[in-house]
């Protein structure tokens, strides 16, 4: 019975990972509209409708980007595998699988960056190099935050020190997750008023639909990863309860991120990189100092 429940939970979780992100984006858009005193999209399913509409359009790929479509599909495939592994670590946590998840997420990001560099459009080139600058800093933070967070959860013993370590590492993980979601103030790669959609300026129709879908899934996965680690290693729950709990917390955090973004403006690339490097360095240094005390 437990096995059936677990298999069912894994399948449901995988479906949630795949189907939820556009819906959550629809909810985020509605909340954003409410804060901005406007009506917003007619329904929370609007992002899904947008993706389906774009997917049904004629496929037009600029000459220089024609091989980029393969990279996009490859990035999408890697992300689907990542989602499966994200579900799997809640059923049976394994540090090697966690490592693989990190590698897959970074690989998918790298493929997207590589794809945009194929464009000859100057806005795209500027946008992608901006995105790359943020990614270099953030993914270093990502690579460091996950082990720190994992260690903090694993060694948590209700002492003030371990509470402090857990808080710092969770803060770092959530920050990395927020920056990785490319919300304001870090949406510099597409910064509409400056770069006219920047790195995605040459995407249209099905290619744009796939990119948006992939981006939303990645955004949700980046939020769910630290929560999945915390739930699977910190709490001893039945697998299907872990899965449900992870999604509930992830949905809450995702929407919270969306509400935070509405209150912020857009940064500038030099300010953003310096700020992130400073904050990440401070958190990591303080974490190490607390650990050594």
């Amino acid at each position: 019975m437990a096995l059936i429940e677990t298999v069912a939970a894994v399948i449901i979780s995988l479906f949630l990972y795949i189907l939820l992100p556009p819906l959550l984006d629809g909810i985020e858009r509605k909340i954003r509209a409410k804060i901005q005193a406007r009506y917003g999209p007619p329904t929370v399913l609007q992002t899904w409708y947008d993706i389906l509409k774009l997917a049904s359009k004629e496929l037009k790929i600029p000459f220089t980007l024609k091989y980029g479509a393969f990279l996009l599909i490859l990035a999408f495939s890697l992300t689907i595998v990542t989602l499966y592994l994200l579900t799997y670590i809640l059923v049976s946590f394994d540090i090697y699988i966690l490592t693989l998840v990190i590698v897959l997420i970074i690989s998918a990001h790298s493929l997207l960056v590589f794809m945009s560099t194929l464009s000859s459009n100057p806005f795209s080139i500027i946008g992608i190099f901006r995105g790359l600058a943020i990614d270099v800093v953030n993914e270093m933070g990502f690579i460091v935050s996950i082990p720190l967070y994992y260690l903090s959860v694993k060694t948590f013993d209700s002492s003030i020190k371990s509470f402090l370590l857990l808080s710092l590492s969770l803060l770092l993980a959530l920050m990395v997750s927020y920056v990785g979601s490319k919300r304001l103030p870090y949406d510099l790669h597409e910064a509409e008023p400056e770069l006219a959609s920047g790195s995605i300026i040459e995407f249209s129709g099905p290619m744009l639909a796939l990119y948006i879908y992939l981006h939303l899934i990645d955004r949700y996965a980046m939020v769910a990863l630290p929560i999945a680690i915390g739930v699977s290693t910190g709490l001893s729950l039945l697998p299907y309860i872990s899965l449900i709990l992870t999604h509930i917390i992830a949905i809450f955090v995702y929407i919270l991120f969306g509400a935070i973004a509405v209150l912020l403006g857009r940064s500038r690339i030099d300010i953003a990189v310096k700020t992130l490097m400073l904050i990440y360095s401070i958190i990591i240094t303080v974490w190490i100092a607390v650990k050594l005390v």
């Binding site: 901005q36 005193a37 000859s120 304001l184 509409e192 400056e194 006219a196 403006g265 940064s267 690339i269």
Partner: protein, 566 residues
């Protein structure tokens, strides 16, 4: 020069007396000096123009407000140039009138003396064929394929003639570039940031701006020419369509120019109504701009709320004039529509609400870290440059140049209200933003006073008569800065109607602001002068190696990608 005119003591203001005493050495080349309604007109020989301009330049507080070229061959056999200089602190305009013989319409440039004259000279060259010596002249306002030798503001060309003479060669051009399969030629903004047509050529290294070139006048609507074929009271409706945001300043400015030329008395009540509508227009324009600026900084929540607050002002405008925009109530000699006490009461309620909401919006917006970080220290324009280019409006006041037509050349009902002119010395985007923020509060305060003091009486002059060939100047402090209209009256229509909007004066400052700026700050810095543009859709490739510049339409870029650049 006659003896009476040569006596500096006869002139009303100290600066004018000083000007007359400084140019007295050229008295053989000065044909007369007239003084009327705050305008001192000095008729000079073209040979002494640079020398007199030099004398004015070294006097410091005199700036070039506008320059008007006029085809007066049918009257005196000459073209005329009217250089309008302003003396802010003395509410006086000094007009240098230069006649150029029709057989040889040439005069020395003054661009090396007064940088603000650059565009005026180029425009006069295009529109009238006037030659300015010792400078590079190139096609500026007219399109590249405009027929040679056709100067459209010369009187021999009527509007129908010009329409026959020139048709944009869009179809031929499309065939030439191999774009037959394309149904439409896109006409739209080059840059999506401002949702308005403009073309800035940015030379960048990494994300740093090395240099900037502005290419403008993509669409010339020929409004001045159209106005010369309309009756006096028809022109305000055309003038109001010059700008979709602050059209009322243009109709007011035009009416004031005609009233100035013909000594028409405007009833006080009409002056109050004009001031009320002008201030309402300023509030809506500044709220619009603040919203756009916040959007450019990525703070869309501020953008939405700014425009939400603005909506109340639009409804207020509709209540008072019958229209949200393009009010259409100005006529020469007054206004067409009165306001009653019920409307005044409602208006005051709206203003109180707007004031509270706007205060909250600003308190929140300036505390958003990204907003303040990207406004402060970016797009710097030094005071010296602002003076040299004769800048106007919030752009000038953000650089410490204390200039405001409402105070310096009082018009409408501004002399009856007290107000502060916000000035900031930093010269950055933050300073220009704060000038506009403060001006919203000042305008609301002014409106309370104006509503309180509206006098009873008529709202338009009962009748007025035309005397041809008189010069009139009307200027208004628009939300973007000083608008100035110059009219030479004709029998039934303006003989010459010259419009100078503030963007014309302020745009040359943008490349200075952009020097060494980050690419990310470009949209906001361009927007910080609150510009108005016409349309363009071209991309330009600059080959530094060969020194060539070629324009590439967007459709070619989209078809051929980087191969189009070659």
């Amino acid at each position: 020069m006659n003896n009476a005119a040569a006596d500096p003591a006869l002139f009303s203001t100290e600066t004018v007396r000083e000007v007359v005493s400084k140019i007295i050495e050229f008295k053989e080349r000065i044909f007369g000096i007239d003084q009327k309604n705050g305008v001192v007109k000095i008729r000079i020989h073209r040979d002494v123009l640079p020398y007199i301009a030099q004398r004015l330049a070294i006097m410091g507080d005199i700036y070039l407000r506008t320059m008007v070229a006029s085809d007066e061959r049918s009257l005196e056999g000459v073209y005329k140039l009217y250089y309008v200089f302003g003396v802010d602190r003395e509410h006086t305009n000094i007009v240098l009138e230069v006649a150029l013989p029709q057989e040889e319409p040439r005069v020395s440039t003054i661009v090396d003396i007064n940088r603000a004259s650059d565009w005026y000279e180029l425009e006069a060259h295009d529109m009238f064929g006037i030659e300015f010596l010792d400078r590079k002249l190139y096609r500026f306002v007219l399109p590249g394929d405009w027929p040679e030798g056709v100067h459209p503001l010369r009187k021999e060309y009527s509007v129908p003639d010009l329409m026959k003479l020139y048709r944009p060669k869009a179809i031929e051009y499309a065939k030439e570039i191999g774009a037959e399969s394309i149904v439409t030629i896109p006409i739209g903004p080059y840059h999506p940031a401002l949702h308005e047509p403009e073309f800035f050529e940015l030379y960048i290294r990494g994300e740093k701006i090395i240099d900037t070139r502005y290419v403008g006048f993509m669409v010339h609507r020929g409004i001045e020419k159209l106005g010369e074929n309309m009756k006096y009271d028809q022109v305000p409706f055309l003038a109001e369509r010059i700008c979709g945001i602050c059209g009322f300043v243009h109709s007011t400015s035009y009416c004031q120019a005609v009233e100035n030329a013909l000594d028409i008395y405007v009833p006080e009540r009409a002056s109050f109504i004009r001031s009320i509508i002008l201030e309402i227009e300023r509030i809506h324009s500044h709220l619009l701009w603040i919203g756009v600026a916040l959007h450019l900084l990525g703070y869309d929540t501020g953008f939405m709320h700014s425009w939400r607050i603005r909506e109340q002002i639009m409804l207020l405008a509709e209540l008072l004039t019958g229209s949200r925009k393009t009010y259409g109530i100005n006529v020469v000699g007054g206004v067409r529509r009165d306001i009653d006490s019920d409307k005044i009461k409602k208006a005051i309620d709206v203003l109180k609400h707007v004031e509270d909401e706007f205060r909250k919006l600003i308190e929140i917006s300036v505390n958003v870290p990204q907003v303040i970080a990207r406004l402060r220290g970016t797009g710097i324009l030094p005071l010296g440059e602002a003076k040299a280019l004769s800048l106007v409006g919030p752009t000038a006041r953000g650089s410490g140049l204390n200039r405001d037509v409402r105070r310096d050349y009082p018009y409408a009902a501004y002399k009856y209200v007290s107000f502060r002119v916000p000035v900031y010395n930093e010269g950055d985007n933050l300073a220009r933003t704060l000038v506009r923020v403060d001006e919203v509060f000042e305008s609301i305060n002014m409106l309370y006073q104006l509503f309180d003091k509206v006098p009873p009486g008529d709202v338009r002059a009962e009748s007025w008569s035309v005397e041809a060939y008189r010069l009139g100047i009307g200027s208004v402090e628009a939300p973007r800065g000083e608008v100035i209209h110059v009219v030479v009256t004709g029998e039934y229509s303006p003989y010459r109607w010259r419009v100078r909007a503030p963007t014309y004066q302020n745009l040359p400052a943008v490349p200075i602001m952009l020097k060494d700026a980050d690419l990310a700050d470009v949209p906001l810095t361009i927007a910080s002068i609150d510009p108005c543009f016409s349309c363009t859709d071209r991309a330009i490739v600059v080959n530094i190696g060969s020194g060539t510049i070629k324009a590439i339409p967007m459709e070619v870029l989209s078809l051929k990608g980087s191969k189009a650049i070659g």
